[in-house]
Subunit: 394 residues, 4 copies
């Protein structure tokens, strides 16, 4: 059905693709073995490192983020390997299921889907692992299903305190380029990511940032693999090429998206996300609803999970909002299905779009007769007009 | 400077061009004398009639709306001709200046820039014109500088009551396809319009819808003209072609924009604009500010002019809003410069974008320290969630 | 009907719009009164001067080239003015008709539609004009209907030899940015051009490059005008703005197209066009057909007019080529209709596209049973592979 | 470096993406879990079956064709399984290497890289397999590295004659939608394909068309897999959704590309490819060069491999052509590197582009001083103008 005006795509990814990026992708494909491609390839393979904050290697797959999860697993893990994972939410659970499919034995730290990874618990379990049999600690940086961001730096310190040699593998699919992330500083061995969130691209690229330690583990690992093989990638990557046909047009878009991130400045990007998240939470509280994330230190800058009042279905609310206000919100997934909805405020975004988004929720609550108080939009505007955020023009 | 997110283009035109229209235009030019062009030409020349609600001719110029004004003048008027115009605002004044440049003698009914054309005054002046020397009544349908929509149907009736033979010439540059308009029913002789408002196109097309009476007047008129000549246009138009190179890509866009208007339904388009205008005025009043338009029967569905509190500069406010919230608003023009700002809510638009827009104004008033009351956005949301406008999903 | 592959648009304009230009245009419209527009406006108004090779003013109209003709006329000429024009072909004839419509008295030097302007004839007629009553010499630089390029520099010298004060007004609609053109060096007073030829844009922009002498003439000229008024344009232009809504998206495209012309280098652009024209003529001669242009010094680098064998209809051939080979060629216009077809080789073009074009003609001649010899494509390839044009890679 | 005009991308894929497809992709991403996506998903999942000529299932992966190879392997084969493959060229060899990486035991029928699969040899080897230990026959339909198209129907018949239960798995990455292909009629169990060849899309989608027999084999197969798992895909596919984020914008493009294929008609598409291939071979022979494919019944309609004269390097020729004529040709791969070049004539293509392509080769041979005879382009034109191919317009 025809709807006037722009759809508000406020799911926590795929996020809105900027016109500059869409237009950069809307160009003829070039020969992936010709000289122009080599220039492009080197440019994006080098530029993406700055986004992950690594001087090491970043592998780019023509795949979704799910594929990048699989790549991380098959390169360094083998059937029977033991890993430590944490139940931060739906995506952590899915990654665990995938690991299980590949025969990995997962020690899965139970969670309440409202909290991030507890560094102390990691420390304890690694300390208890006297035989050093745990091959990897695998955690989600920004849990897209809940709006909880784990403190990866603190997890790193916890591991370091134990002296345990486990690899640190992190899913930052929805965190990268929206929430502060430091692959090298935090000594992450494998960071998994995707194109359709903070990178402001359509879905279709998966990433693995890999440490030397992870590359060595991969070399020793016998798990059969071909498409996902890091070492097969790295050789042609060194001259800007790929071992099989890359998703050329997404690479055009990646180049443009990275240029935009650099124009704004990564630190400004992170600050913007945090400010919008704060305004969003102010709205949620004004409505008398509860933010899913429990711990303020773990509030996600990327999205906000909101708990529905008892007896009210989050999906019915989302449908009301979609039909009346042409806005898509994120559903509750897995065990919080129907109980939670998620507001994405990531990527190519700004103050007025945030207010439009929150107005869609507030009006939706009203139209759907969900018990709430008015004033959420006002509360968000109050955050956005705080003195240090805005200035009058002389 | 780089700004994240979409700019809010809330001037009263050019309005936001939908992606579908931009993409339709982003196609190779074709031979303007080849068979495919004839098909396209016939399609757009026929489709545009439905938008003007005419069964007569609509001329399409590769020009701005200003060019379409000039076309209207040089086709039917000659130096020394007398016309009746009404000072509804800045654009009426500019059209009058243009007429004067072509040697037309203008009887200009003074106005307060807050009211539309007074049909009684038209009736009076035509009745007083015993010699029938007034060649045309030239009025603006939707005065873009003020947000006042004149009642053209009532003007027509006023003219009819006098039995005066003057032509009725109407500028509906910013009214067409946003506000109800009926070229044939209102027996308008020349309607002037442009592409960049309700038609949701970039600027670059000007339109003249013309009655048989106007065509006859043109035939008799000796004013030199070539580019703007209607009769030179009509012959090739009959087979879908143009006498000189047309703006082909804008015609691609016009075809797509008209398809969108038909998908939504013109009456729905008009109702949408009126609803958004009502919500906008509710916000203005809640802020304690005054809507420029005086007469509720003349409120524009396209834009709302807002009067600044005394001693506060509208342009400073607009700059504050642009710099803080990346939104463009319309300036006060001509004699209301600095005293008025204008909020465009036309074209490819929807509820959440309207709320984002109004939030930009409300936060801008706050940041710029313009005296006002909060609650404008809330008032607008109340309008938008009225029972008959929104529905819950079972 | 669906046709696989890219259409070959080999009319002498509109020419193929490069993807870079189409994509640059495929972006949201901005506020034509906001600060970003001023930056864009200054950029294009300054850049376009380099294309005309002038340090003076270039006016940009949201119109076709035909509109720019009219602008040239109404700014400097008045009814009763006498001008000298030359019948170089169809477009010269149309310009003359337009001048006549504005009451200009045209001394029209007869021509054979195969030759350019004869400087000696200009010199003679100006010398004979003892009363200096000729207000302007108005000629076409590259006659699009014939493929003949007049030597404007020589025309200038001819005028100078007479000491006659007439303005020199030149239509370089299809010459600009394809054939060498020097507004200042040749002391041209008004150069008329359009967007859809060498500038590689869609149609929709008209240009007037104007000398100080022309501006003075305009100031003194009483011909009524408004849309086309140069002086009304120049004031807002000085800060990058326009007196009425400009064709913003075409200005985006103009900026990109000018960047491409500078990347290639204007002299390289001209050399490329000449080389392609030479190869095209080699093909025509190999077919045993005659090039319409008589004088080698006047061969157009932009297009080649070809004379059909007696008794064969050029338009039937063009239809055969369109239906069989999906290529549009230019028709013979006016008095050479049906007798001539035109091959455009301008703008965004290269060797292989030229050969595809010539193959379309050669196969079309074959399919349509037009008497000819084979070998045209071979002859063109021979030109393109001449030693100084191509080089082997070591 | 800037090059005027369109690059000729005449590698045998990625092929030229039509403007319609690029523009369809250049649209905002939508919620992959929302109702609009379900409509799109069902549309493309249903439409793609017609392209494979199957009523069964087609799985769409956000991956390259290489990924689709891997999917075929991991779904139905397990380490230690025995398969029969045929060395038709480089891609058959790569597929075999991939199978080996997954522990599959490959009986690799040696080949000369100039011939397709020999059905008799398949029959013989299967007949010799008294224990029915061969799990699958895995062959390449259109060997992109050589320009040889194997007769899959005949292979099917050979298998049937033996009554052997082996699965038939076919790579038609570069054959699909260019060369006749019949998944159901030929009882193929798994057809592997990709987006960037006959489907005229950018790279980024991989396909597996699967028979019920293959699905059963997958159910029984214990090889670990997740991203590539068919059964995980089929459940959400049934309502138009995907188990993980799909490459939405490529699906937009797929929908448009399939519409184009249906507009032209698949049989017309195949006939067009064969006609262009015939013209291309005529050129190759006229040059005195040898077509790599030996057997006329196996000539590829998609691309033509050409053998360089002894002592001349194909890659040097390709570089000369790229630098002089801005055309990319396919390199010789693997054991024919340097000895062979490949001309792609697939996808969005037409007669004049073919001639431009062949002219680029002919001029390149000339410039690079490769011994050859002229006349290749002429020979191709003769094929294209054969009476039954072209018609004059009355």
């Amino acid at each position: 059905m025809y709807r006037s005006g722009r759809h508000f795509l406020q799911i926590p990814g795929p996020s809105t693709v900027p016109d500059r990026v869409l237009r950069a992708m809307d160009m003829p494909v070039i020969d992936h073995r010709g000289p122009d491609f080599g220039v492009l390839g080197k440019e994006v393979l080098s530029g993406i490192k700055k986004i992950f904050k690594t001087t090491g290697h970043v592998i780019i797959f023509p795949s979704s983020g799910t594929g990048a999860w699989e790549a991380a697993i098959v390169n360094v893990l083998a059937p029977g390997d033991k890993v430590l994972m944490v139940e931060t939410g739906h995506f952590a659970t899915l990654w665990r299921q995938m690991a299980a499919k590949f025969g990995i034995e997962v020690d899965f730290v139970a969670g309440d889907w409202r909290s991030g990874v507890d560094p102390a618990e990691i420390e304890k379990r690694l300390s208890d692992d006297k035989t050093k049999s745990i091959k990897a600690v695998m955690v989600v940086h920004n849990e897209t299903s809940t709006g909880v961001t784990s403190r990866i730096g603190a997890v790193r310190q916890a591991i370091d305190r134990t002296g345990h040699p486990a690899l640190l593998m992190v899913d930052s699919i929805s965190g990268l380029a929206s929430a502060d992330y430091r692959h090298d500083e935090w000594k992450v061995d494998v960071t998994v990511s995707g194109s359709q969130k903070g990178l402001m691209l359509p879905p279709g690229l998966g990433f693995n940032a890999v440490s030397e330690k992870a590359l060595d583990a991969a070399k020793a690992n016998k798990t059969p693999r071909s498409f996902w093989d890091w070492h097969d990638m790295l050789k042609p990557n060194s001259t800007g090429y790929f071992p099989y046909t890359p998703a050329t047009n997404l690479l055009y878009g990646l180049k443009e998206a990275m240029a935009m991130l650099q124009e704004e400045g990564l630190d400004n990007v992170f600050a913007r996300h945090m400010r919008h998240a704060e305004a969003c939470r102010a709205a949620v509280r004004a409505w008398g609803l509860e933010v899913l994330a429990k711990n303020p230190a773990e509030y996600s800058p990327v999205l906000t999970g909101v708990i529905m009042p008892d007896g009210h279905d989050a999906d019915a609310l989302r449908r009301t909002i979609l039909e009346n206000f042409d806005m898509s919100l994120g559903a509750g997934l897995g065990k919080v299905a129907g109980k939670v909805f998620r507001i994405g405020h990531l990527g190519h975004f700004n103050d007025l779009t945030l207010i439009g988004t929150l107005a869609g929720v507030e009006m939706g609550l009203q139209v759907a007769n969900v018990p709430h108080q008015a004033g959420g939009v006002d509360a968000a505007m109050a955050v956005l007009t705080q003195k240090n955020q805005a200035r009058a023009v002389a």
